[in-house]
């Protein structure tokens, strides 16, 4: 108990005074970066949260790297294979060790990254690092296990399939992107998932390409010292051999026409409308992404005028929100709404479009901009409320720039964005020819005259 009191005391120091000082760093923890000669990077973030350590291994590969036809979903599938045993530990032995450690262990895959994460008691760090290194350097699985795991991945697709939003995102991506690999979801197409059992050889190739030290960053957060983390990294990961593969990700050509698609959903649902514009890639130097991040909240967040009108006042929509991820390559700025009555779909879509249009000519209210900056800073501080939460918040930025410093740079950028920067970014990106609209509704209950009825294109 006393440990916790001390922990909290230490923690409050960097956070108190958040509102007053814009120059204070948003990522308030001291951290150390150590690069091994093989290209592997270790980031250690000691915190005062006692007893636990969060160990995250961030690999800079994801569905973005699935460049070959028929291989959508492979990065995610491969993530599953990383739990199927290595030279020195069978899958069962691995599970036994994890169980003894009381660890919470899992992994996830996104467009630009694959993240292996575990939280456990600090005394188990040595064994965890050894275990983890073995699968990253000496993965070993049989073709039988490989094929069985492909079925579990299909099970994952199946459990997601009841939710219409899974399908909506699949169609949105393939409609908005024609060349770039963001055209498919991280889960991948069902036809490709069904073909995964036949891709054993490719899985070995995939491992050889991406599971290399130059693609990986080890993030250790919690009750740990830099010396200890570094010694363990050198001991267990020092011999990992650098690779030489670089993905050639196709560049998406400029969009030249507005696109639409409609999905007939086989079971009852409320209709959805997604309006998306091609946006910029993540940057901690150029202002356009930061400007649009702030606008996403101002124009389409829970506190936006549009939300207040459609959700609170007119009550035509029961969900409205933006989705604009930080990605390596240019990403979609998406706004999604769920409409209560099919006859209102066109109206809601038009209101969303008018809001996009409005901010291309009208500067945002400076007070609202300041409130949004405040929200972003407090939100970030409140989200990092345990060692696990800190590591979790870091992972996407590590995949993008391999350093926590990018968070500070990004928030400095937020601090410098002006209403005119936002207007200019909106005018640059929210053009008709950059737009994709997807609608989804129960077959036969679709609103008439919606321009979303042209079928996929």
């Amino acid at each position: 108990m006393r440990f916790l009191l001390l922990a909290s005391l230490a923690l409050c120091l960097p956070l108190v005074g958040l509102a007053q000082t814009t120059q204070r760093k948003l990522f308030p923890y001291d951290y150390a970066i150590d690069d091994l000669p093989n290209g592997l990077r270790l980031i250690t973030v000691p915190t005062d949260y006692p007893n636990l350590v969060a160990l995250y291994v961030v690999v800079q590969t994801g569905s973005r790297n699935e460049v070959e036809p028929g291989k959508s979903g492979f990065a995610h599938f491969f993530e599953h294979m990383m739990f199927r045993g290595s030279e020195n530990y069978t899958s069962d032995q691995r599970d036994t060790i994890m169980k003894r450690a009381g660890a919470e262990a899992n992994a996830y895959t996104a467009d630009d990254r694959t993240v292996y994460h575990q939280t456990f008691s600090k005394e188990d760090l040595g064994e965890m690092m050894k275990l983890e290194a073995d699968r990253f350097m000496r993965l070993k699985y049989s073709s039988e296990d490989y094929k069985t795991e492909a079925l579990a991945v299909q099970g994952e697709y199946d459990k997601n399939s009841a939710n219409p939003i899974s399908k909506l995102y699949e169609v949105l991506r393939e409609t908005a992107f024609k060349k770039h690999t963001y055209s498919h979801t991280t889960m991948g197409y069902l036809k490709d998932i069904k073909d995964m059992p036949n891709q054993y050889e490719y899985s070995l190739e995939f491992y050889k390409r991406f599971y290399r030290p130059e693609y990986a960053t080890i993030v250790v957060v919690g009750d740990v010292t830099r010396d200890r983390a570094l010694a363990l990294t050198k001991q267990h990961w020092g011999d990992w051999k650098r690779g030489n593969y670089a993905s050639q990700i196709p560049t998406e050509p400029p969009q030249t026409e507005a696109r639409t698609a409609h999905i007939d959903w086989p079971s009852p649902t409320l209709p959805y409308v997604a309006v998306a514009f091609r946006g910029p890639a993540y940057s901690d130097e150029k202002k356009d992404k930061a400007a649009l991040d702030l606008l996403a909240s101002i124009a389409f967040g829970d506190n936006s005028e549009l939300y207040q009108r459609l959700v609170l006042k007119e009550q035509k929509v029961d969900f409205l929100g933006p989705d604009f991820a930080d990605q390596i390559d240019p990403e979609l700025f998406i706004v999604l709404a769920r409409v209560k009555d099919p006859k209102d779909v066109d109206y809601v879509r038009d209101q969303m479009l008018a809001t996009f249009q409005r901010f291309t000519t009208e500067a945002v209210n400076p007070a609202k901009l300041d409130a949004t900056r405040s929200r972003t800073r407090y939100g970030s501080a409140m989200a990092m409320n345990s060692s696990t939460a800190i590591a979790y918040a870091l992972a996407p930025y590590i995949a993008l720039r391999r350093t926590p410093e990018t968070i500070n740079k990004l928030f400095d950028l937020y601090a410098s964005v002006t209403p005119e920067d936002i207007r200019a970014a909106a005018a640059q990106y929210f053009k008709d020819q950059n737009r994709t609209i997807i609608t989804l509704a129960t077959k036969a209950s679709t609103a008439t005259n919606s321009d979303g009825k042209e079928g996929r294109n």
Binding site: A7, S121, T148, S267
Partner: protein, 506 residues
């Protein structure tokens, strides 16, 4: 385990927010004049509130199912007398704070976290929300429609896994105060009026029902101030509501929900007379962890159904209610109940494997009940749970929530309690608890599938359900498959019913 990141916005929006760490001091008081409290002051810059009312869906009057949830929604998501919802949102916005409600059978908790710099402003809002609600018509219309759409569309038609789990509770608790979904029923929701909400608020939001949970770096006199402010609530009667076990007839029953879906979801369970307050709870919690630790690859069912056979994405077991399990790794606190069920969750399988998967789960379950746990699995699971409890209570908000639950169940600090109980536990205790509590002939099973009549026929005929794989399997598995594919499930025709999905939650 192992997931893709794209979590839907809608899905997230439907979750009740849970919050933020550091447990220093618990104080409890139960004087009638001021509400009881669980206080955990520390030096964190964040302040977490969990304001608990000992009321919930089990207190919904007959014919007014859903009024507890709608009342909580009106407080957390509606305006006050002085401020509209929009004005509250505007005020919360720069603080990045919110105030959410979670309604269960016996507990309704309002929770939120704010930075200590914003504490005064934040508290002024939330105290007003709870003490001086606006009960405005426009909020009522919106929140009632949300509740209806949640049941009718999001749950019934968009999440087969949660649908299966929730419907399982509905059938086990049929005729019991727990017998309807926390959100209500579609029929009753349509009929609810604002006056019903007002009446529920008046009768249930009382000092006797309230427990103030507060953690973080708040000022020394802050808790006192809250207690004084909340003394304006009516005194009310002391909450003593404890609910009986449901009466479940002997025999296994299957309900097959028919809907247009590509996979088959399966949930099963039966009531157990064990809660966190019972001496056998640590033993049963250990058994559930062994057979199916939530979202872990270590559970036995996961190993046999998913790892060895690739039947689905995961297979887990529970001794406590754990809603929204597909979205989170650890359960939310403040879902305390005086009656719980033992539950197995088989994540969706391909329809042609549904019969086999059900048999496999029952085969493993029956084996556990027959043979008990081995010394080796007992010790490994005990070690796991002893450490894992630190992960459950990593954040200030979770520690506060667990402390409130410990107060409800009459146990000490959860981590200490679990550690001490596990240290005392023996393999014999666990195997006795299995025989005593899990040997049930009242299993209830919910399956959700497209072709319900065929599945029903197959189940009733006890037709063999052989399984084929895409790769050779070890002899141990193929031998076991031969037993499982014909594993007898004793079902009479009247015990297997097909339910059109439109009838659920009516």
């Amino acid at each position: 385990m192992r997931r893709t990141l794209k979590i839907s916005l809608i899905t997230l929006s439907l979750l009740v927010p849970t919050i933020a760490h550091a447990n220093v001091q618990n104080t409890m008081s139960a004087k009638p004049a001021t509400p009881a409290s669980v206080l955990q002051p520390n030096r964190s810059p964040l302040v977490s509130f969990r304001i608990l009312f000992m009321t919930g869906a089990a207190s919904d009057p007959k014919g007014k199912e859903g009024v507890a949830a709608l009342t909580a929604a009106m407080l957390a998501e509606g305006g006050t007398r002085a401020l509209t919802k929009q004005q509250i949102d505007d005020a919360m916005y720069p603080m990045a704070s919110s105030f959410g409600a979670q309604v269960d059978k016996e507990m309704t908790v309002f929770n939120g976290t704010t930075h200590v710099e914003n504490l005064g402003r934040y508290y002024a809002l939330i105290s007003q929300m709870l003490l001086d609600p606006g009960f405005r018509e426009d909020d009522f219309a919106r929140l009632k429609t949300n509740a209806i759409n949640f049941l009718k569309v999001s749950l019934r038609e968009g999440n087969d896994e949660e649908l299966g789990k929730e419907y399982l509770y509905n059938i086990i608790y049929a005729g019991h105060p727990y017998g309807h979904h926390n959100t209500g029923t579609l029929g009753s929701l349509e009929r609810l009026t604002l006056n019903d909400v007002r009446a529920f608020y008046r009768d249930n939001y009382t000092r006797a029902n309230m427990v103030l949970g507060l953690a973080g770096g708040y000022p020394a006199d802050f808790a006192k101030r809250i207690e004084t402010d909340f003394a304006k609530l009516p005194v009310g009667k002391e909450a003593k509501a404890r609910f009986e076990q449901p009466k479940v007839n002997a025999g296994m029953r299957v309900e097959i929900i028919e809907r247009e879906t590509r996979a088959t979801a399966i949930s099963m369970g039966f009531p157990v007379s064990v809660t966190r307050a019972s001496k056998d709870w640590p033993a049963l919690a250990l058994v559930a962890s062994y057979i199916g630790q939530h979202r872990s690859s270590n559970g036995h069912l996961y190993q046999r159904l998913r790892e060895a056979r690739g039947l689905n994405y995961g297979d887990y077991a529970y001794v406590e209610y754990f809603p929204r399990g597909m979205f989170q790794f650890t359960p939310d606190p403040n879902l305390g109940r005086s009656s719980q069920i033992f539950q197995i969750w088989i994540r969706p399988v391909e329809p042609q494997n549904a019969h086999f998967a059900l048999r496999a789960a029952l085969y493993e379950y029956d084996k556990l009940v027959r043979d008990g746990m081995s010394k080796e699995t007992f010790e490994a699971t005990r070690e796991f749970l002893g450490k894992y409890s630190n992960i459950l209570t990593q954040t200030q908000g979770a520690q506060l929530g667990y402390a409130l639950d410990s107060r409800y169940y009459g146990i000490t600090d959860f981590n200490t309690y679990l550690r001490e109980q596990l240290a005392k536990l023996t393999l014999e205790d666990v195997n006795r608890a299995i025989r005593e509590h899990l040997k049930s002939d009242r299993m209830r099973i919910v399956m959700i599938t497209k072709d319900a009549p065929s599945l029903r026929n197959a189940l009733l005929a006890n037709e063999p359900s052989p399984i084929t794989y895409n790769s050779p399997k070890p002899k141990e598995i193929t031998d076991e498959d031969k037993v499982i594919q014909s594993y007898k499930i004793d079902l009479k025709p009247e015990a297997v019913t097909v339910v059109p999905v439109e009838r659920i939650f009516q």
